[in-house]
Symmetry: C4
Subunit: 273 residues, 4 copies
């Protein structure tokens, strides 16, 4: 009986741990406080990665950056292990083995793991360059925000809603880039063999032009090239601006729905999902 | 009794002064004339700041600019003091002390104060650079237009209506800039240590690219950098164009509402949706 | 009686001349033929101005260009005089003097006059530069298309419909340019005195940036300048893209109305203008 | 009788061949497999053209590219001949001569022919440059995708729906480019005779500016030129962005129609406008 109680209390602890680690329910101050702590830590980590890239700052505060990193990894590791340990208190992950495995393979859990893994790997890897790259991967800790941010979730929903449209426009964009690059390669290869040596390199020109960024590092110099470029710009820019229009419309729609509640059927007066 | 009458007449004067200083009610020609006078003075001040920055013009008409500045500050100071003195004639600021303080702390009053303060401060400050900066702050007298301009008020309403959407897009934009800068720093730091020395500097590239301005002072030269840049441009530009779409939609909506109320069928006189 | 008949026949001739010169009514083949002739002549004139600017072509075909110009001016002059002579056959210009004057002062008539005037003036003017400028003014013969082009008329209607919105955005754009230029002058004047010598010159940077053209001839180099520029770009580009959105929406609307006939009131079923 | 049977069986074969070559109907696995085979071949051809333009890759895998090309041409030729042979099994092309001619002159058939013709022509042509150009024309095999791609068909429908609007905007765009180029030629010809030697060359500047690409290879340097350029940019960019808005709106509309038919209220089952 004592064992059963113990099990129950242990499962009660797990449930509480889960609640604290998860996004806070209204009124749960402890969980709320923990959320704010983790959010601040993520924010400070991003700031640390940004500032740590500045040589003078890194040189001056190297130990500070190091111990802050150790502290962050410890906290994020405990958070991750805590989640894996306590997830079985949720019905969907109740099985200690398969439930946990299915929890671990969730995108948000993978992000949590990736947020700490580079630190541990840096002790394994021997190559300095590799370690340096790993350090920069810390910027992806920003992805942990996904759990808390309503904006990111909204954006995800918006993109999902218009998946079909976006896939079509992306396909058209790829076609356009391929055709534009081939044309410009044809027209400019002889005049500027260093700028348009082959079609893959010409794609850089295509993307810079079709997005209207236009750095000016590559541009046509022949009459034919300028003619093609003008035509491509006029016809193609519209295609590249389409995703913006589509996402924008869906965005406004989605927030509108969120704000104003649901539509009402004019025939029977009931709400429609 | 004479005292009471005096008080009353004094309060009548205050009310009239307030009316004249405030945006004119239809039919109040004196107040209208004063509005036009102040508007012209603001406009001329902006012109003076712009032209005064041209060395040849400044050198030639220095005394003219100086006396126009003195005249403007005197007028704006009198206007400001007049408003503070007469505001007690309004119910909401009726208390001579607390009412006045609450009036002084209104945004438009602060702007009125900031429009004249630099002039007086320039006598205090000893540093020449400081005085020069103060002189340029005169350009903010343009903000005094806010009181008169329906366009600025409309724009303010438009931005307020879509606050939620704008906050979300700004957050996504910040995330994007941080991620794009980190990626490009990773890819280009070795090849162009002067252009991408650290992440904060790389942010300049991110903003110039994501807004599609593309000056061409910074651009990737490595294969990896170009690949990242292309991807970032294609995916990110849409996010940076979102606010435009959102504000544009709200703008058209707001003016529509302003203009038409609801439409009325000219045949039966009933309102239509 | 013969006089009256003569008058009548003369007025009949005028009416016919007017019909021929004016845009053709359906079925009037002579007038239609004349329209096509004039349209072709305008088109060829534009082509002639464009090609005539190319030195080699001008040198080789100078006499051809000259006689084509003489021919065009003769035709356009006859057309203009014919319109002025025959306009009295229209009720609104029936008075030979005041009617004609009011016809002459119509925008389209002014354009017709400006299309030929430079040629005659070139005999008067002594200055070679002046004559050269006059020659280029022939490009404005393109404006004569306005009489025939439904697209230009549609565009005019579209802009008129959204006048209020466009005026507001233009005012906001002017404010933005003034503020952006003042800020950048403040930030960059010392570091780049040749690029940002005064506020009017800095306006070139503002416009090139806010329209996202970004040639790269002027850009900030100081930290403060880059910070301001980034902020201005992010906040301002939206304002500069607004007119596009507004005109675009009105455009689609206007064509929709044109295509689909009129709206029907849901209460009484009658059409609404 | 045996002859009639033979004819019938031959016509049955033709019908089956047609079905296999054409886009597969649901459930027809053989036809589906053939579609996937052709699609993959088109895709690989595009990849081959792109990679084949890179000198190192071409040099190393020249024989591979050559035999892949031969294989592709054989397959596409058989496909083309098979279509021409079997098209008579369709009612609309039932006549062996006129039916086949009308089939051959369909756009998609012309594309199929153009996809293989360059290969055969390369044996005829003697000029090496001509052969090189022909090789690049292989990129147009991408157009064969048109038969299979729903995205391309959708895009075609979208453009067709808004033909009227697009024709109008293209006309306005041409007018704008002509006027902008003439103005800039006037303003900048003297200061930069190499950049603005004539109006046709100035058109390159106009297009690069009005599309907001802004490479920075050509830009005004005179005061007047900058003033014109600023005005042209502010007024013209809107016109150049119109097609995007128009196509975008039509795009969203068309997909919406495709997806939802009319909405149905889930409570009462009636359609909602």
């Amino acid at each position: 009986m004592a064992g059963a109680e113990e099990v129950q209390s242990k499962s009660g602890v797990k449930m509480r741990v889960w609640e604290i680690l998860d996004v806070a329910k209204p009124g749960d101050t402890l969980s709320k406080a923990f959320d704010i702590f983790i959010l601040s830590l993520i924010f400070l980590n991003v700031v640390a990665v940004i500032l740590g890239s500045v040589k003078e700052i890194e040189d001056r505060f190297a130990p500070g950056f190091y111990w802050f990193e150790v502290f962050s990894v410890v906290v994020f590791s405990i958070e991750y292990l805590g989640r894996v340990w306590s997830c079985v208190s949720r019905k969907e992950y109740s099985n200690p083995v398969t439930g946990r495995l299915s929890f671990i393979s969730k995108p948000l859990s993978v992000i949590d793991l990736l947020a700490v893994l580079p630190f541990y790997l840096s002790f394994v890897g021997a190559d300095l360059r590799f370690i340096r790259a790993l350090r920069l991967f810390r910027i992806f800790r920003i992805a942990k925000l996904g759990r808390y941010s309503a904006s990111v979730r909204l954006l995800g929903r918006v993109i999902k809603n218009k998946k079909e449209e976006l896939v079509i426009t992306v396909m058209v964009m790829v076609l356009l880039v391929v055709l534009a690059s081939s044309f410009m390669y044809m027209a400019e290869n002889e005049a500027q063999p260093d700028k348009f040596p082959d079609i893959p390199t010409a794609m850089w020109w295509s993307i810079v032009t079709l997005t209207t960024v236009g750095y000016g590092d590559v541009f046509p110099v022949t009459m034919l090239g300028k003619f093609f470029a003008g035509l491509i710009a006029i016809l193609g820019i519209g295609m590249f601006a389409l995703p913006t229009g589509i996402i924008g419309a869906s965005f406004v729609e989605e927030i509108h729905r969120h704000k104003s509640g649901n539509m009402v059927c004019p025939h029977c007066g009931k709400e429609i999902g």
